[in-house]
Every structure is written in structure tokens, then in C-alpha cells.
Subunit: 400 residues, 4 copies
């Protein structure tokens, strides 16, 4: 039986050309797999037809938007996942989902190899290959762009030679990856890190410096899940989409950062993630209200480690699984409402209310009704500072 | 000889009244100490005269603004200190400095007791008393407001009875603490955490939603110290002041948060820290460019712990000292320039350049000149993912 | 209705006397509660009768040994809980269990107050009171020894005056707390930290320096639970008891440490925990075989934090609950057998085997059959070291 | 000019053969470098002559034992470096020192390449290559065993063909690496992790189960440095050597562990490190006496990270440098004496005294002279437990 290769297929030039090239080089039949994670653009059926036209023996397309929102974006939201405290790991979230669909397709269509179009200097190759290794350790992986130095020029020549149904002239100056959680942009002039981004770089967000009226909304969370906006029930996907629209219209969620890639280099990245940033902002403040202090402090360490793991391609890993159980436990009481004002590039929390609140007006108030027993404080302060005080006595003695 | 008490003196009603009250209750002479940490308001000589008029045997005033900027704000900047990832520990920084001056005054004026005006449900009592215990373990501490339930009403009656030179009617609805690093506001209506702050709450910042032109500037850092703005040399104090002015004019640095106090309760706090937020934003991005990845990742844990310690009153403590040496070592290469745009409440980095940069255009670029050897990636990816892969084989085996 | 106080009752002098004293001081009826956590000594019925003879209106006794082993010792084992890397938190484990029984008794017998016999300078007062606050926030707590400076001399006089059925002369020179997980000893001469413990201090362990034959055994774990010893099925309680006997006979598990108490002082403690140390030793090595590397590395941080929380009296706390879920997830594959040799105070692992093993002979061997592809290493090493190398280039440039 | 290669030379078969082989393959002249890190065996001059006899154009030998003890073992001691809480990173310490000498030799002798004899599945290749990259980023590296699949059989044939002065029959069944800090052993039968080590595996330690008299000694530390044993001044090297002798004679420091290698696999390792284990045991307890609690707790995290970095080949790295400054700061007060009993494979602390002690008899004692104010405890306990209590009220409310 002819061997089969499952190819992560985007519908673009590189992966369209790869169908024929892989078939030729390996003698295998190519199964193209395209996954909709909310990246927009062409419809799935168009992409499917192109794959077949380019020589794929099978073309599988999947609308995975709800799956992506619920099983990938939601954990990231509950973890307040911001790599280097800025970047909501947009691309890092979609890769494991795509891997899952690739592996499923490989099983269904009897393939023993998976192919992806990543280069050798980025993070995505790691996310693809480590993910595949974790879900299907016996599958082989090939990466034509990286392992065979396949270039854009070669791809265009190949497509023209074979008259493939691809517009080879439709070249964006930008290298873009996008999904419902956000959008990543790289481009030549931004590789000079002194250069500022220009407005043309952005697509999910409007210019935040334009005057416009603020937009106020209330997000309802139930156990860490956004379940309503302004009182209307939403799915997770709808929550993200609605906030992409409304926060994007206010210029919220632009990020411009020099970032540490897993492969050991620094790169300059521009992102837009209006919905992600608005949701994380709201979720963090609801946690401030509902999480106990020690839990909140330790959760920050868990958040950092979770985010590093996911950024570093280890979505499917034992530590990630164990951190997930920790985070899930923390979300039990993260229920309530956050009022958010979106304006001028900022998502600002202006109110919070929750039946699970640990904020106790009677303990906090300086007005009447104060139930905090101040006489307890003296003993607390003394013993809290006792270790430092004993050390200070020692150190002062030594200083004499 | 008559015993002496050193009193942390602000010039306001409570501490003015405390002078006489402490003298009466303890039979001691009271030495008032007022420290200028950039809080603005009355000049020091006016405050000094009022203390004497209220019965202080000595009144010591100190302009500690440069000391505060260089020895307290600067370490906080280098640590990117944001409690709960938001609050630049404004009040927590000034307390240890004031403690230092109180202890010096106690030694100079032969006092064996220090008095402060903090309540028993806040953080500041801890910062004062733990700080005093660490610098002068033998000094006693009294806290009239906390330990003798001294109230505003009692204070007014006392002042009127004795005709003290204080305007007892000058009552702000806000409880405010401010210094050059920022400003903290509490007030009755904000104790309902669903209520939004009103514009009247703010003083360091203009309304960010008002239309105005952006302000662009370049901050130069040398080993983690801001040394120039737009090419003009500044002291640390001047850098903060200048950025308070320019970032404040753009509405940068407003914070509204439900926060975990050390004494075990949650409280709602509103802060403004335009200079602090602008400087930290710039400093973080310069670190992104100049710090090696593993160092940067671990530094985040150090930053969190440092900030918790300082918030929790442990400025003078062995762990804080040791973390300081870590942070100092990290700053050796944090030199370069950051271009910042201030507008609409946001401080946005738009460019960075540094002779200490670890960003290597030739390694990062996707254009010609690429010096990254992509053939190395395959082996890296395989071994990076090997532990997960081995675990996956085990787990899949178990799942059968 | 007369108010009722539930008293944590040990059967000893102090708490026997406390029955009458509390009744007299508060006018309340006293309900004595004694819990068997494997401390040995008198049988529960004898203790119950003494409580009634001393004036308790009710005396509740509970054999909680299995509950203690399964719900308190087992999580400590799975967390490899060693405070300061030495002490298996013996007393800290029994306190929350006792608290649970006290709170149950308070509800059943209509009490609104709980009393305990702890002093004000130890950790146990914290564990009792914080535990009670977490399980029954409305219960009041009284601590006669701490809050009323109740001394041994007063207790003896009280007992003799009232002819209570207690042998007031049976005074051990040691202050001891023991349960099935271990035994803690404090005594006057050990407060000089230069003094060595003497053999008389120990009870669970034989002198390890005595010549005797080694004892070899095999412990079987199933998902982190010890389920068999030498092939014979055991409950968790039986596993601990059997190892207390066999490891104790070989002098395993003696600990002598200067320890950081929560109340801010250092104290010198001597412990014996033969079963705990043997089980933890075996469990750690089985984890070495079955846990993936990143998981194992992060688990050490979780272990440290869990242990600090439990030592610090926060067994019933949101962070502890969340860490428990993390640990539980890690134990899914901790199944297999560990061969242990007990001798001369040491428990030494000499073999391990597990169907869940991640040790792969074919990857590890230097003999034939090696399936590790060494060609992958070069790329891995290069990219692993790339951040340091880039930093080194920068630093060497600066050094010129 | 002919190019030159610096070779890390041990004097054994593999690296002796490598001299000629590298020369032949690369056309370069080979400079052999041998470093004495206390591994014992042949004297350096013998090794030097053999290198020359095998064709080296230069042979450099260095007695680096003091340098190794003071600059590599001492930081490990001060960090209590135990990988996976067991293994004192023996080999990981010597590699960076050897790298330093290789780089120096390369500069001195005009070489542009360094060669080492490591395989592709171990940690040492990483330590060599990452170290070289950090000290001399421009040097090339070759690894014949890994990159050219050079085997023992080929080496023997090569040596016999050329009549090299090496005893090719002197084959130990063990793969051994040793230095003054310890000794690592791997061998075929231990690759079955159920097999116990046999006595023949060990060389630095006597059988701990043999009856013999205990050995008691006192180690004096000054700021974390061992400076005297039983009152006699020692260098760091002498301290380690003396304790290797005395602790080794009592069977102290044997370690048998399944360990996580950096390259992603688990391996089974047997170590002996009598001096290291005895010194670390003493040092840890002196820290228990002299380090403040919060500092000690955070230092454990630093210790774990430092040890992972060093194990993982990142001795020369920015994070390691910064952690070193933290550790150095912590050692300022780690001065005093520890009494240690060595016997039956155990190093047991039986006494400690220090002018820098934070143990305060008057605060700790339950006898007369107690200066601890127990009345402070009540307030401390209440506020310490307040966050849990507030959370408990919320959770109990929810449970109704």
C-alpha cells in the first residue's frame, strides 16, 4: 500500500506547493488537513478544493473554533497566560489543536508521517513536533522548509511550472499568524527594533489614538468561564469574538515586544489580541476579589510556568497536565461580574461584584460598622517582624 | 532626665494632636520628625513651626527626596515592582525611609520610643514597626490611633480645647498618601467595589479620555538607572518628576484594584503613579532586549518575592538584602534607550536601542544575511520533546 | 441552656485539670474530646473515664488511626513532606485531624467554644486555632495555658486540692508529642544546641550504631499509595506501623535539627520517624523512575510550599487544597516496587521496578541495543547554549 | 600556519587515540590538555609524556586541585547543591574548570578548535560545548566519539596498528569519572535498575555495614567556608580531602539513583561523595542556625535552580552569575562550628555553636528566663489565619 503523509495545510502558497513536492520526494500520497481556529479568510470548502486541485489524495477541513475557544483559549484565560507578562500566547495555543487534528487524520487515513511548513528558527516547529511526539510517538515528521531549505522563490517557480490554482502574486509584506485569540505580525522593517509599528500592520484593532466614545460592558464569569456579556449568555467563542469586535474597535490589545524564543534567540514581535486582553484584564480582577491571598501569590508562579511551557511547545506534557489541575481548582469561586470600560487602547475595570467575594466591607471599611479587631494587630506585627528583628540584633552586634 | 518620644509627624490634625497627647500620657518630651518624600503640600519650615507650636520639644524636618528616589524608588524600578502585577508599592517604599529618619532622630535626641499614627488594620503599622525593630531593636513603639482607639472626633475636640494652630475643618473626604513615586487614595464610596472612581479622586493625572496630542520621549538607562530624558541628563528624582508631569498629563498610571493586605483582609485601592508606570514600562522592555532568557525568567520570581516582602513591611530584612544583590547583578547590562509614546492613559514602547542588546538582527531576520543554522533545530526539537514523548508512550500504553 | 466548651483532651495532667478550671472560670459545661492518632499509651476508655471523673459532662473518644494514616499521612508521603528538608511534619499532621473531631463534637454537643492546651510560643496553637477558624469560623477559642499563664505548678496544686484521679508525680523530663507518623521530643538539656541527644530521648528507634543484620524489604506502591510490603497487602496504617517497627529496629529516622518556628523563633527539636522516613525514601525514588523531568522539578517547589503551609498551620486553606490537586495528578503513574535495605540508621533503595517506568534501558544503555540517536545531540547542544553564547559575545565585547 | 586543535586529554585509550585521529582527519596539530581535579591515578608528567608519544605537538598539564576546590566545589557547598536532592553534581563541577583550561590553552597555542571525547547521550558534551561557547564563542568544537561514531573497538585497532604506548587490555568493567568532590560509576549490570550495586563498584568509601567505631569531628566554617577541622586550619581542598578520608572510611556518601539527564532520558547512576556529603550536611545545619527563616526558604529555590543550571551545563551563564551573588550574600553570617559523628554510612550533626546564631535560648526555652511574650501570639494567630477564615466563611456559605 502506498504510504501516506498528513500535511498541515493552510491554503497558502507554501503548503499548496508542498503537496506535490512531498508526493514527488517521498512517493507518498498526501492528505491535506486544514483547521479553522478563527483565522478568518477563505472558507473551508474553498481551501479543501484547492488542496485536491494541488494533488492531495484527501483533504480534511475542520471547523474547530468552539473546540479552540473552550479547550485552548479558556485554560489560557484562566491562567491569565501572558508570556513575558505581555503576550497572550496566541500562536502557541493553536498549534496543539492543529496537532490533534493532524494526528486524528493520520490515524483515520493510515498515514505514518506528518508534514508541517515551519522554519527552523521559530517556535512553531517545536510546538508541532513535540506535540506530535506526545500524541503519537510513532509518527514520523518532515519539515520541508526547514530540512530541505525550501524557499518562497522555489515555491513560486514550482507553482507556475505546474500551473497550480494559487495566486503567486498575492504577497503580503507581512508574515502573519492569526486565530480567534489574536494575531501575530512579523515583517522586515520591524526587524530593526528601533522602528515603530505603522498603522498598516494592524487588522484586529483600530487606532487607539483616534477620538471616539468609550464602550462600557459587564462580563459575567461562572467558575472562571465567561458566560455572559451585558447579561446576554455567550459561549466562550462568542465572548472572545464579541470582545475582539468591541475591544478591537477601541484599539485595545496591541503589543510590541522583543521576545525570547525557545530556540535561543530574541525576536521582535507585534501582536493584536483585543478580546484576549480584555478578558484577561477582567478575569484577573475577579480573581483579586475571589482568590485567597496565598493562593493568588502561588498561582502567579503557576501562571508563569504554565505560560512558559505552552510557549515552549509543551502543551501536551505531564507538567502542563498537573498545572491544569491546580488552575482548575482555583477557578471554583471565580464567579461574578466585572464592569469594564474600553477606550483609547485600554481595558479598565471600574467595578466588580460577586457572591463569592472575599472582600468584606465590614472588615475593610473605615466607617461605622467596622468589625476588624484592631487590638489583634499589635501581636501580629511583633511576631511577623520577629525573625528580622532577631537577625538585626545579631547583625548590629557584629557591626560594633 | 525626662524620657523622649520621637513622633512620625505629618503636619496634619492627627499627629499634631498626638504631640500633646503623648506628652500627657507618657510624661515624655516629644520630638516631631517630618520627612519630605515628594508628597508636596506645605513647606517643611511651616510644618516644623507647627510641631513646635503644638508642644514638641524638638522638630526635625528633612528633605529626603533625592535619597528616596535613589535608594528606594530606584530599586523598585529595577525590580519592576508591581504588587499583584499592578501597584508600584508607593506607600510601602516611603515607610522604611521615614523609619530610618525616625531612628536617626531617636539616637540623636536620646529617645527610647517611637510613635506613629497608623491604624491597626492597614499595612503601614507593620512597615513602621517591623522597620524600627530591624534598625533599632531596642526602641519601643507606641501607636495611639491603634492602641488607644484615638479617633478623629477626639482629635478635633483636643485641638479646639487647646487652641492648637490647626484648621480642624479642613477635612478631605479622601484618605490620601502621596510621594514622588505615586499617590494612594481611599474613600468611603470606593469601599463599595462596584462603584467606579470619579475624576475628583485624581490629582497626579489628567483624564485619559480627553483628546490631546501624544507625547513622545526617549529615556536613556545606564545599568538600570534612568540617566537622561530626550538626551538631557537627569537625576533619578528628576526623571521621576519629569515623567510624573508628562505621563500624568496624558493620564498614564491610574490603578484601581482590590488588593490583599498583609493583615489578612482585602481592600479597594485607587492609585496614580504616572512616572513609576512609565519608567517601569520602559525598563521592562529594555530588560527584554538586554537580559538573557533564563535570567529574565527567574528574575520574575525574584521580582514577585521582592515586591511581596516590601509590601509586607520587610524592607529591612535578610531576604530583601539578598534579593537586592541578585537584582543589582542583573542590571549590569541594562543600558540603552527606549522610545516611549505617552497618550490616552497608555505608555507604549515604540523603539529600543542598546549597545548591550542581545537581539541579533542576523540571527532573527528572515531576510538575507540570516546567520542562524536551521539544521541545528531538528536535533534540538527532538531532545527537547524527548521526556514528554517517553511519558506519552508510557501513558498511551497504559490507556490501551 | 448552659454553654458548652469542647476541650482537646489528652488524658494528662494539664488537660485533666483544665476540665474543672474551664468550668469554673466560664460557667460552661466541658465536653472532653480525645483522639487516637497512634500515639500509643493508655486505652481510650481509660481516658474517657478519667475525663468524666475530672468533671467533664461528656467525654468523646475516637480511634482515628486509619483516618489519620489515609487522609493526613498519605498526602504528606505523596508530597515527600520534609520541613527544612528533614522533618516529616509529624505534629503538624495530627493537629488538623484533631481539629476536625473537635469541631464535629462542638456541633454534636452544642458547644460554641473550643479549648486547647497549647502554649503561646509554639506552632500548635496556630494549627489549632487557624484550623478551627477554617472549619467553623463562628466557634470561639480559649487557650488557658497561653492566655491565663496556667503553669504546671498551678495544675498540680489544683489536682491535689480536688483529689483528681491523676498521678501528678509521673513527670517525664521530656516534652513529647507522638503519633503513628513520628515522635517529637523537647527537653531542657537539648535547649543547649551544642549538646548531643542521649539514647534515653528515643523510643520509636533502636540505637543505629549497634551491630545487627540488615533488613531488606520490598514496598509496592499503587498510584502513590503503599499497598503491599514484601508482597503482603497492607492498609496505609499498617504500612506505617510495619515500617515503624522494622525501620525503627534499625535506628532509621532520627532527626536532630534547629528549626524555624512560625512564631518567629528558632528552636531545637529531636524527632523519630522511622516509618515516615523509610516510606518517603522509597516513594521519592519511585518518583525518580516514573515522573517526567519537568514535572519532577516543579513538584519540588510544590512540595516545599505544601510543607511550609502545613507546618505553618494552614492545612485547611485554599492554597493547600489546590496544591493537593497538583500532587494527586502527579501520583497517577507512581506505581511499582522499591527494594529497600534498612540498616545502621539508613534506609537505602537498592532496586526499583515499575510498569510505569520512564527509564528506558534501550535509550540509556551504552551496550548493544542502544536506540538513542546521538546525531540529534549536536543541534540540541548548540541551541541549548545559544542564549548564554549570545550573552557571552556581548559581555566579552564589553570587557575589551 | 598549520591549524591547531586543543584536545581534552585524560591519558586513557580513547583520547590517546584521538590525538592521531584528529591530526589525520583535520590536518591540524593537536595540543593535549590534561587537568588534575583530584581524580588520582597517574601523575601529570606521565600523562604529558604519553600525549607527546601519541603525537601531540604540545601537551599541557595543570594541577588545578586548589582552583577546583575553591572556585567550583565551594560554591556548590554553599549552595548545598544536590541534584534531585541526592547527587552533589560531581562531574558537572569539573567540566567548566576543564573548559576554562582548554580555552586558555587554545588562546596560548593559537588553536581555533577544541575537541572532547564525550558521547552524544550524556550531559558532559553539553557542559563542554556550552561552556566553550560561553568563554570563547568563536572556537569550533569537534566530538569524535559522538559525531564520527568512534567506538572502543576502533580505538583499540588504531592503537595497535600504530603501536601507541597504551595498555589496550586494561579495561575496567566500569565507566568512571572522579574528582576530589566525588566519583561517578556506570556499568552494564546497573543498567538493570532492579540490580543492587555490589561492593566492587566503590572506591572512595568503605562498606558502611561493617562494624567499626564512630568518628567524631568538629568543622569550623567562616562565612560559609570550611576553615578548620578539629581546630586545625585547612584549605578548602584539604577539608574535602580530609573528609573524603574520614567520612569515606565510615561509608558515608554512597548514592544510587535514577536520574534525569538533560538530553531527555533517565539513567541509573551510582556515586560516592563522602567529603561532599559530610560538608553539605554540616553546612546545612549551620545555615539552619544562622539564616533567617524567609531567607532560608527562598534560598532552597535558589539552590534547586543553581543545581539544575550547573547539572544542565550552564555554569557560565548570566543566571548562574546572578544566583551566585545571592548565595554569596547569604553566607555572610554562616560562621561557627558543627560537631559531626561519622558512622555506618551516616554523617550526623550532634552539636552546633556560632557567634552568628539566630537561635536565642531565652526566647526558645520553656524553663526560667523565658523572654518570649506569649500575649502577642493571640493576635498573630488571628490575623495569620484571617484569609483562610474569610475564605472558609465564603465556602461554607456556598456549601449550604
Amino acid at each position: 500500500m502506498t504510504e501516506r503523509v498528513v500535511l498541515a495545510y493552510s491554503g497558502g502558497l507554501d503548503t499548496s506547493v508542498a503537496i506535490g513536492w512531498i508526493a514527488q520526494e517521498t512517493g507518498a500520497e498526501v492528505v491535506a488537513v486544514a483547521v479553522d481556529v478563527g483565522q478568518g479568510g477563505e472558507d473551508l470548502e474553498t481551501i479543501r478544493q484547492r488542496a485536491l486541485a494541488c494533488g492531495a489524495v484527501e483533504a480534511v477541513v475542520a471547523d474547530a473554533r468552539d473546540e479552540f475557544a473552550e479547550q485552548y483559549c479558556l485554560p489560557a484565560l484562566q491562567t491569565n497566560a501572558l508570556y513575558m507578562e505581555r503576550y497572550p500566547v496566541v500562536s502557541a495555543l493553536s498549534r496543539p489543536l492543529i496537532v490533534k487534528h493532524l494526528v486524528q487524520a493520520a490515524k483515520m487515513h493510515g498515514a505514518d508521517t506528518v508534514a508541517h511548513g515551519c522554519t527552523g528558527k521559530g517556535n512553531d516547529q517545536v510546538r508541532f513536533e513535540v506535540g506530535i511526539g506526545a500524541l503519537a510517538p510513532d509518527l514520523k515528521v518532515i519539515a520541508p522548509v526547514r530540512d530541505y531549505a525550501w524557499t518562497r522563490e522555489k515555491a513560486i517557480a514550482w507553482a507556475e511550472d505546474r500551473n497550480l490554482p494559487i495566486d503567486v502574486n498575492k504577497k503580503s509584506p507581512y508574515s502573519i499568524d492569526q486565530n480567534v485569540w489574536g494575531r501575530a505580525v512579523e515583517t522586515g522593517f520591524l526587524e530593526d527594533i528601533w522602528n515603530a509599528p505603522i498603522e498598516d500592520v494592524y487588522s484586529y484593532t483600530q487606532d487607539p489614538t483616534e477620538p471616539r466614545d468609550p464602550d462600557e460592558l459587564v462580563i459575567t464569569f461562572d467558575q472562571g468561564v465567561p458566560v455572559a456579556i451585558d447579561g446576554e449568555t455567550v459561549t466562550v467563542l462568542q465572548a472572545i469574538q464579541e470582545l475582539n469586535r468591541r475591544a478591537g474597535a477601541q484599539g485595545v490589545g496591541r503589543i510590541d515586544i522583543v521576545e525570547d524564543r525557545l530556540v535561543g534567540i530574541k525576536s521582535r514581535e507585534v501582536y493584536e489580541a483585543p478580546g484576549a486582553i480584555a478578558l484577561i484584564t477582567a478575569h484577573q480582577e475577579l480573581e483579586n476579589v475571589t482568590l485567597e491571598r496565598d493562593l493568588a501569590r502561588f498561582k502567579r508562579q503557576v501562571e508563569q510556568r504554565w505560560t512558559e511551557l505552552v510557549y515552549d511547545g509543551l502543551w501536551f506534557s505531564p507538567l502542563k497536565d498537573a498545572l491544569d489541575t491546580f488552575v482548575a481548582e482555583t477557578q471554583r469561586h471565580v464567579s461574578g461580574e466585572i464592569r469594564l470600560v474600553l477606550h483609547g487602547g485600554r481595558a479598565v475595570v471600574t467595578g466588580r461584584r460577586s457572591e463569592q467575594s472575599l472582600y468584606d466591607f465590614n472588615l475593610a471599611t473605615y466607617d461605622e460598622g467596622d468589625s476588624f479587631d484592631q487590638s489583634l494587630a499589635k501581636g501580629f506585627v511583633q511576631l511577623w517582624g520577629l525573625p528580622s528583628k532577631i537577625a538585626a540584633k545579631r547583625d548590629l552586634r557584629g557591626a560594633k
